[in-house]
């Protein structure tokens, strides 16, 4: 057996033994390697006091069997020494724990054709489950624009923003990935089975938790660090003040990823968390997919044109000419000297200005004098 395969088996075993994101295991693996750690633990040698916690799980370990079962279900286990390994996850090694979760995952269970090393330019779209139809529409819209520009979309698989983000990306035929807090063979929530099946067939469903495992609160917190770490930037669409999406946002900040927030009505509770992030300066305000691309893409790749009003003919006039134009009456004509008085400018200057304005089609000379032409009204 090659070293890589032994490493893979050891990492599968570790996934069974440890809770995801346990800081002690992350440290031990970095220190002594996965193979040696597993050998010691199975040999009942306690290291750093972890054995007490996991003793009951040791008997359940059977990595060969597990990999075999996964292969039959079309599921692979990607480890750091694989070519497919998303390098950006290694940033987690140097990051302080958040809610006592941290560290590079031992490996990732993946179901679906999308390769994880394609996620270098991906964008996370997250938000709370108690989202509004506004948030869902915006999330779908952002995801569609981002995915169309070739950036994969990453999210969870919950109701609300997560689901909307996947739908938006899928609708434009884009790449999209769901990161779960349970085994990739499980559909949670059950109502999203078709969505998850679809992602498993065309995008990817990813988890660090072994197959068959159910999601817990702690596993969601651990999962959030993966979403933040896998992507170039995280867009928070709607998040109430206490929500998992804010946890993901914190990870994004900690990992120096781009953090973006979509505002909502100031009266809307589901937007409160996002507003807080923007107010604190943690997140940058975005209102469209194009603005997201500008911030997560390469420098100068997707520059957004600032929204501006239509230019009108009178915008191009010099200040003095504008002053004269303002003094020209709308309906009844006025003579140049009366216009000069109104404008507060010299008669000679007003005369020449009126001629310029007439050439520009903004004023017309009638029998009674000068008045505005139709073009000046536009």
């Amino acid at each position: 057996m090659t070293g890589v395969e032994r490493d893979r088996l050891a990492r599968v075993a570790l996934g069974r033994l440890a809770e995801p994101g346990d800081p002690r295991f992350a440290g031990l693996v970095a220190e002594m390697g996965a193979v040696e750690l597993v050998d010691s633990l199975i040999g009942q040698r306690d290291l750093g006091g972890v054995l007490v916690d996991i003793e009951g799980r040791v008997d359940a370990v059977g990595p060969e069997r597990e990999l075999e079962r996964a292969a039959r279900a079309g599921i692979r286990f990607v480890i750091p020494s694989d070519e497919e390994w998303p390098r950006q996850l290694d940033d987690l090694a140097a990051t302080e724990p958040l809610q006592n979760r941290c560290g590079v995952p031992f490996g990732l269970w993946v179901k679906g054709p999308l390769r994880l090393d394609e996620l270098a330019h991906s964008v996370a779209v997250v938000g709370s489950r108690s989202a509004t139809s506004y948030g869902a529409d915006v999330a779908a819209d952002l995801a569609a624009v981002v995915a169309r520009a070739g950036h994969p979309v990453v999210s969870g698989a919950a109701f609300g923003i997560d689901q909307a983000a996947h739908r938006g990306a899928l609708a434009v035929g884009g790449r999209t990935v769901a990161v779960l807090a349970c085994g990739v063979d499980r559909a949670y929530p059950m109502a999203h089975k078709t969505l998850l099946d679809h992602l498993g067939a065309e995008g990817a469903v990813v988890s660090e938790v072994p197959m068959g495992c159910s999601p817990t609160r702690l596993r969601f917190l651990a999962r959030n660090r993966l979403i933040a770490a896998l992507t170039r930037g995280t867009v928070v669409v709607e998040a109430a003040v206490r929500s998992g999406a804010l946890n993901t946002a914190n990870w994004a900040g900690r990992l120096n990823r781009v953090l973006l927030g979509v505002p909502g009505p100031v009266t809307s509770a589901p937007s409160q968390g996002v507003h807080q992030l923007i107010r604190n300066g943690a997140a940058t305000l975005v209102t469209s997919g194009a603005e997201v691309l500008e911030l997560v893409g390469g420098a100068g790749d997707h520059l957004v044109e600032e929204p501006r009003a239509r230019t009108r003919p009178r915008d191009r006039l010099s200040l003095r000419d504008q002053q004269v134009l303002d003094a020209v009456p709308v309906a009844h004509g006025a003579r140049a000297d009366s216009i000069a008085r109104t404008a507060g400018l010299g008669l000679l200057e007003v005369r020449s200005a009126l001629t310029r304005l007439q050439r520009a089609g903004l004023v017309e000379a009638g029998e009674a004098g000068w008045r505005l032409a139709a073009l000046a009204h536009t």
Binding site: A136, A140, R167
Partner: protein, 529 residues
């Protein structure tokens, strides 16, 4: 005794009065007088009746003095359908018909000079009124026999000519007669726009989860609805699909609506009873009379009454004339239109759902989602347009929804809601059944019609839910009137979900519906599951 009475009906709006047509044929100065406040067209009945009788090979008592009284005499009478009753009364008074045969029988129809019986508008409401007053048998023009037969417990005899009527009354064999040309102006087109509406379905629409839910709630509780959004956001498309999720009319509504259409002369001979809720979408140039009812002579029901039990859709609502909009206020409150005339006051049922649609500005492009700077309206015009949206009628709207334009990827979304109208209608029917059970014995059937004070007293919100309403009132986001509307809406949301009484979640959804805030996805999903 040279005297006889035949019955017919005089219509005032949808209200019918049984009229005794009394004829006296006795010696005196030769001539025919018609008394009892007939209008011009009715006054001409004397000539029509005389020629019809003569040309039917019957004898007109030409050497006598004929007096015809339409009783009660103080009621103004108009229309041409009195002809048959007048002719029959004259014949009976002259002893040509057994008077007994005229008892508990009503006669409706206009006579042609050759004795043919022509159709008239409003046969159904007339027959209904007659039935209420104890009439058991009615003679009507043959093409309208089907319409008359909708009145329960009535023996309907459809006849083609006066000769047939006379034969039937005498108990003789009814002679053959040529069919009479149908009522003028009916069905010049073989295809009508209303047929298209029978084929539209909610399943045709993509996305619009929010608006779908809003129309479902509106349909379930009979709430008025306002849809706003830029051009092409699907306001009209979703509005014209509302009838498809409404349940069939109740038998009472169905009779009322059919009677209104009969009155408007809009009922085709083969139509039968109208059982599906109507959809009416008048143009914004519409006059007050065309919307509310009126016209010269006989009062014609307006679009509001023709949408009774269904949907009145006012597209581009701010462009309607201000006096027309103002006039809608009273009917919306009372569920009926009152048209006052010099001599009479006519009441017509008008209890439909009002659906208003408006753009963000006159050109309809003022939206961040529209192509950049597409709006060409000056700010003054935009402000003027918006100021027309708030007003007394808009204040009576329960649900406000803002629609976003369709985005390109909506069409290819495989995981969106694509429910058909039939699926939604099932839930609407269930919610309506729950309301019917709760309001059994009351004078209203739907949450939107429940009087506010009674609602607060007998079907209050739980404390926690009421607190949420109060919070919004204190924060200035809801007026007191708005709070009552939220209360009604909360019940409808609860009825759709099968919850009793409405709690925090249902009230929150109601507040969002009322204030135009986006709905929580949990509310939308709860409905689907």
């Amino acid at each position: 005794m040279p005297f006889a009475t035949a019955h017919t009906v005089s219509l005032h709006g949808a209200l019918g009065h049984l009229i005794d047509v009394q004829a006296d044929v006795s010696p005196g100065q030769v001539g025919t007088t018609l008394v009892g406040r007939p209008d011009a067209s009715l006054n001409e009945a004397r000539d029509r009746c005389r020629m019809a009788i003569v040309n039917s090979n019957l004898e007109w008592p030409a050497t006598r003095r004929i007096t015809i009284l339409l009783s009660p005499a103080d009621l103004l009478k108009r229309g041409t359908h009195f002809d048959l009753a007048i002719a029959v009364a004259v014949l009976a008074a002259a002893g040509k018909l057994p008077r007994l045969a005229l008892e508990a029988t009503a006669f409706i129809g206009e006579l042609t000079l050759d004795g043919g019986l022509r159709s008239v508008p409003g046969v159904l409401p007339m027959v209904l009124a007659a039935a209420e007053r104890g009439v058991r048998r009615v003679f009507v023009p043959e093409p309208q026999a089907l319409e008359a037969a909708m009145a329960p417990g009535m023996a309907v005899l459809g006849m083609r000519s006066l000769a047939q009527v006379v034969a039937e009354l005498r108990g003789e064999e009814v002679p053959e007669a040529a069919p009479v040309a149908p009522m003028s102006g009916s069905r010049l087109l073989s295809w009508r726009g209303s047929q298209r509406l029978e084929e539209v379905d909610l399943a045709d629409l993509v996305g619009m989860a929010d608006a779908r839910y809003a129309v479902e709630v509106a349909a379930a509780g009979g709430h008025h609805l306002m849809l706003s959004g830029p051009k092409g956001s699907g306001k009209t498309s979703i509005a014209e699909r509302i009838p498809s999720i409404l349940p069939d009319l109740t038998s009472e509504e169905s009779l009322e609506l059919t009677a209104i259409h009969s009155l408007a002369g809009a009922l085709e001979p083969g139509d039968g009873m109208l059982v599906r809720p109507p959809f009416s979408a008048p143009h914004h140039d519409a006059s007050k009379a065309s919307l509310l009812g009126g016209g010269s002579g006989q009062v014609r029901p307006g679009e509001l009454s023709r949408a009774h039990g269904g949907v009145l859709f006012l597209d581009e609502f701010p462009l309607f004339r201000t006096d027309v909009i103002e006039a809608l206020r009273q009917p919306l409150e009372s569920g009926e239109v009152t048209v006052a005339r010099r001599d009479e006051s006519v009441r017509l049922p008008a209890r439909g759902m009002l659906v208003l649609a408006c753009n963000p500005c006159p050109c309809g492009d003022y939206s961040p989602q529209a192509p950049a700077n597409a709006c060409t309206c000056p700010e003054v015009k935009r402000r003027d347009y918006r100021s027309r949206i708030t007003g007394p009628v808009a204040d009576r709207i329960d649900i406000v929804r803002h629609l976003a334009p369709l985005r390109p990827h909506d069409r290819s979304d495989r995981f969106g809601v694509h429910e058909s109208s039939a699926q939604v209608r099932e839930r609407v029917e269930l919610a309506r059944a729950r309301q019917a059970a709760r309001y059994a014995g009351e004078s209203w059937r739907l949450n939107s019609q429940a009087p506010g004070p009674l609602l607060r007293e007998r079907w209050p919100l739980p404390d926690e839910a009421q607190r949420l309403v109060d919070d919004h009132v204190y924060a200035g986001r809801l007026t007191q009137r708005g709070a009552t509307r939220v209360h009604r809406l909360a019940w409808t949301v609860a009825d759709l979900q099968g919850v009793d009484p409405p709690g925090h979640e249902q009230v929150d959804a109601a507040v969002r519906l009322r204030t135009g805030a986006p709905l929580l996805l949990t509310t939308l999903e709860r409905r689907a599951g």
